[in-house]
Symmetry: C2
């Protein structure tokens, strides 16, 4: 068995051409297998696994096109390689060459109604194509992967400033005004709009929605990195804005692989301000509850689809509320209660700090002093050296309560009161007078308490509750109930952001310029939408050195 190898340095062909060449070579007489790849380390390792890597192949670099054929007939292998140019010439496209513009600018003139550019060139060239598209005033669907994070941020900021949208990079799917872009299932138009930082996640939810008999208004992809802290969900926030304004969207679905915690909080604040039911599926992010206000938390993609369809069949009146100024201070004696409160509150209040943070950005560096919204677990080891646990001794908590009351920014104080064996025999008798005194000083502060106890506990749970209620404390019997109350009364809503987005563009019949994979052009045309395919080639034919020189001449 021999391997014959040809290396073409710095040669660019799009991936479909490479795939077709490989298949044609492998189908030639006496050829057992073939490989046609850019010689990246990963691709060479793959070739090795398929017994397609020869010593010459090992030497090839990531900018080289590596063509390998395997045969037990050396002549047949040589013969196959001789046919490469001819095979590459074979017409593979149904698009008449005559109608193909050679640049974005020409394409834009040819199809002036195109509000979209679909970009699927190799990642290293994609940023330049997107920049050009934005300069032409087009929204972008950016399928390409291997685009740098820096480029992504720069492109998205540029787009936002121009009132345009960049979906991607690595955006697998979108449905704009009924037309699927990239990988997209065909489905009914309907009342559910989606924003998704997850391609197959969007596909799984939208197909399930369709299969349940409902349909999609818009599905806006963001690319998987949009919800990273560095990008800050620029596209997802724009997407929510579009769906908020879209009268045909009755229910919104927000789906993503687990976002950065601070980005999740920001997005949820925007979702809360959407004034419509929003189904949230941050895959792998612990749901704080089944429902908090207009947010419904799903635990899987199927669950998200089913929730959205159910909600779209209900008549839900959105409640408008404004965020009251001031901060919540949670002073806990129970560690798990503090933690569960954090899990709920991180969906509601921002910024939020704690000495039992769920995410490191919530870390309260100085546990002895609160800042912004704060949850302190006063039972943490730090506080209990040579001191009784705060469930037994209220001294430390009462002192902290004074401290919070002195802070003019304090608006709500949340306590837990854990009864039972071992605990203080009458905590309310010590807490209630302090709360009463605090209320005299600062009547605008609201006091909330989570009371954990049974009717058999030595403290007499109902008497404890009564003492607290008598001084105006709002009492809850579990963390979830307190979280629901805080959500309704105090949830952070995102500030109104000046949005330049032309939402009308999303309601017009879709027309698009395609740069890169021809299949995406075929698919848009196949959906009876307008499209033009650019006969794109990388600058300098993909020759790195020449590209550098060209770039320098431009500057």
């Amino acid at each position: 068995m021999t391997l014959k190898v040809e290396i073409r340095p710095g040669t660019y062909f799009d991936s479909i051409v490479l795939m077709q060449l490989q298949r044609k070579l492998a189908a030639l007489p006496k050829i057992e297998d073939a490989g046609v790849v850019m010689a990246t380390p990963a691709n060479k390792e793959l070739l090795e696994g398929f017994d397609l890597l020869s010593p010459e192949g090992v030497e090839a670099g990531p900018d080289d096109l590596l063509i390998v054929v395997k045969s037990d007939d050396a002549n047949a292998a040589a013969d196959a390689l001789n046919q490469v140019d001819q095979l590459l010439q074979e017409k593979r496209s149904a698009i008449s060459q005559a109608f193909r513009p050679h640049s974005l600018g020409m394409a834009a003139k040819q199809l002036p109604e195109a509000a979209w550019v679909l970009v699927s060139t190799p990642g290293r060239y994609a940023a330049d194509v997107v920049k050009e598209s934005l300069n032409l005033g087009k929204n972008v669907f950016l399928y390409s992967d291997n685009v740098t994070l820096e480029d992504e941020i720069a492109l998205k900021v540029k787009a936002r400033d121009k009132g345009l949208l960049v979906m991607g990079p690595d955006c697998g799917t979108a449905v704009i005004n009924g037309v699927g872009l990239g990988f997209a299932n065909r489905m009914r138009v309907g009342p559910i709009g989606l924003v998704g930082a997850s391609g197959t996640g969007l596909q799984a939810i939208t197909t399930h929605i369709h299969n349940l008999g409902s349909g999609i208004s818009q599905a806006i992809g963001t690319g998987g990195r949009d919800l990273k802290a560095e990008v800050g969900a620029i596209t997802a926030l724009q997407g929510l804005e579009i769906l908020k304004q879209d009268p045909d969207t009755k229910v919104i679905v927000l789906v993503s692989k687990p976002p950065a915690a601070e980005v999740a909080t920001k997005l949820l604040a925007a979702a809360r301000a959407a004034g419509k039911p929003v189904v949230v599926d941050f895959i792998g992010y612990p749901p704080p509850a089944h429902q908090l206000g207009n947010l419904y938390y799903a635990i899987s993609l199927e669950d998200a689809a089913e929730l959205a369809v159910n909600l779209s069949n209900q008549d839900i009146q959105p409640q408008k509320s404004s965020t009251p100024k001031g901060y919540l201070r949670g002073l806990f004696s129970g560690g798990t209660l503090a933690y569960e409160a954090m899990l709920g509150l991180q969906n509601i209040l921002s910024p939020l700090y704690s000495n039992v943070p769920i995410d490191k950005y919530q870390n309260l560096e100085d546990p002895l002093n609160s800042k912004a919204h704060t949850v302190v677990d006063l039972g943490e080891d730090l506080f209990t050296v040579g001191r009784l646990h705060p469930m037994m001794d209220n001294d430390l908590r009462i002192r902290r309560l004074h401290q919070e009351v002195e802070d003019p920014e304090t608006k709500v104080i949340l306590l837990d009161v854990v009864l039972g064996e071992g605990a203080h025999l009458d905590p309310a008798s010590e807490l209630a007078p302090e709360i009463a005194a605090a209320k005299k000083l600062r009547p605008e502060i609201e006091f909330l308490a989570i009371v954990i106890g049974t009717d058999e506990d030595p403290q007499d749970t109902s008497a404890q509750i009564e003492q607290l209620e008598k001084v105006g404390v709002q009492v809850f019997r579990n963390t979830g109930a307190a979280i629901k109350y805080i959500n309704a009364a105090y949830a952070t809503q995102s500030e109104v952001v000046e949005s330049h987005l032309d939402v009308g563009k999303f309601k017009e019949p879709l027309a698009a310029i395609n740069v890169g994979l021809e299949t995406f052009y075929d698919s848009v045309i196949g959906q009876d939408a307008g499209a033009v395919h650019v006969d794109w080639k990388p600058p300098a034919g993909g020759n790195e050195k020449l590209m550098d020189i060209l770039a320098k001449m431009k500057n």
Copy 2:
């Protein structure tokens, strides 16, 4: 306003004594405030916040007892400090000194039926007390915090070897045979048993269970660090074993702050083998589904209680299944589907690796080669440089499929097939023959496919499904359905571990030896259980140097 300070180097008093001294000093005439603390940095910072830190106080070290009084009358302050010794003498305990044994050994002779020792000494002394208790053949409830991780591991291993249980350190609560230990609410005895690495979590769930009209068989605390990777859930696994064997426990609840991922998998494998319904609330851990086999996932403490009560009212026949030998290999084209599969499978299969790991311990270092159970996302950037996405081109996936079939350890192959615009126009036509050929070679391998598509998709979804089913592929329409199937057929059950635990001890009337906080003795007695309180003092009265010498003399 003056501060008068007294420092007593290396002096030990238990925290209740310190708390009482502080209160008595603060209540003396003309005294405005008082502080009595061990002079740790945190405590000194707290004193500073209360305006109770003087320059002498700043100089005190963590082994010094720091006594501060604040007054605008210097004489009154001096007078207060002069009363310290007398105040410390005041009898504060109801326990007759005559009945107090001075050592654990004496206590064990006085109450030979005591199977438990409750330890709440300061953390630095606790390990020695626990060791002595284990040597006496007692189970331990270890309330103390500030115990080192090394000590925790050593003590738990020692206990396990002896067939004993160490609940803690930092174990807030437990209910053994109807008697609450530490902080514990009083409640009905009933059919629900709990294992919890979270004190107030256990309290919140058990009180809610009681308030719903049901009751508790046993509630076993583990201490918050038990589910860390280093400890490996030694106590939680023992706890599950006890509840599995306990005929009075019908439903088990497993609650914890988020465990280390590999520990979660291990615990879930043990829970699966329990042969009873198990409600899981790993607070902040994303639930993979509402139910997987005998495991029911709660999203909050209330939810856990409600699920447990509902399940205890149902007649559920446990299904016994054994783990088939061999591994699952998931070859995905959709990133989010791969991720969602991981979220589900990490609850089911162990060990599990992936190039899209949820936790770093699942990281598949070499994405080109599977090991154990593996999920590969073939659409990851690594695989798509100069190559079409696997939704468009099946070549890479088919090659990987061959590779998996050649591996004798492969038992199940799981694929996703994502249809729609942009995707391959007939993926089943390429996959089905390969699967048929693989089945001829390895008939014992089961093929599963998740097919995402609508009835309007260009590929004709039902025809795709038919092609796959014809070659024996089990088809699912979403990830959740596939996970449920894999759970029923292939879930990893924990190996049977030789358990020396004397479960009978947990059914006997509780009797305990108390070392540390007297309130815990009072509470056991108050529940009509047997107890004896040890008049414990730290070795050498807490003098560090003397303790060192004593320790050296012992060795």
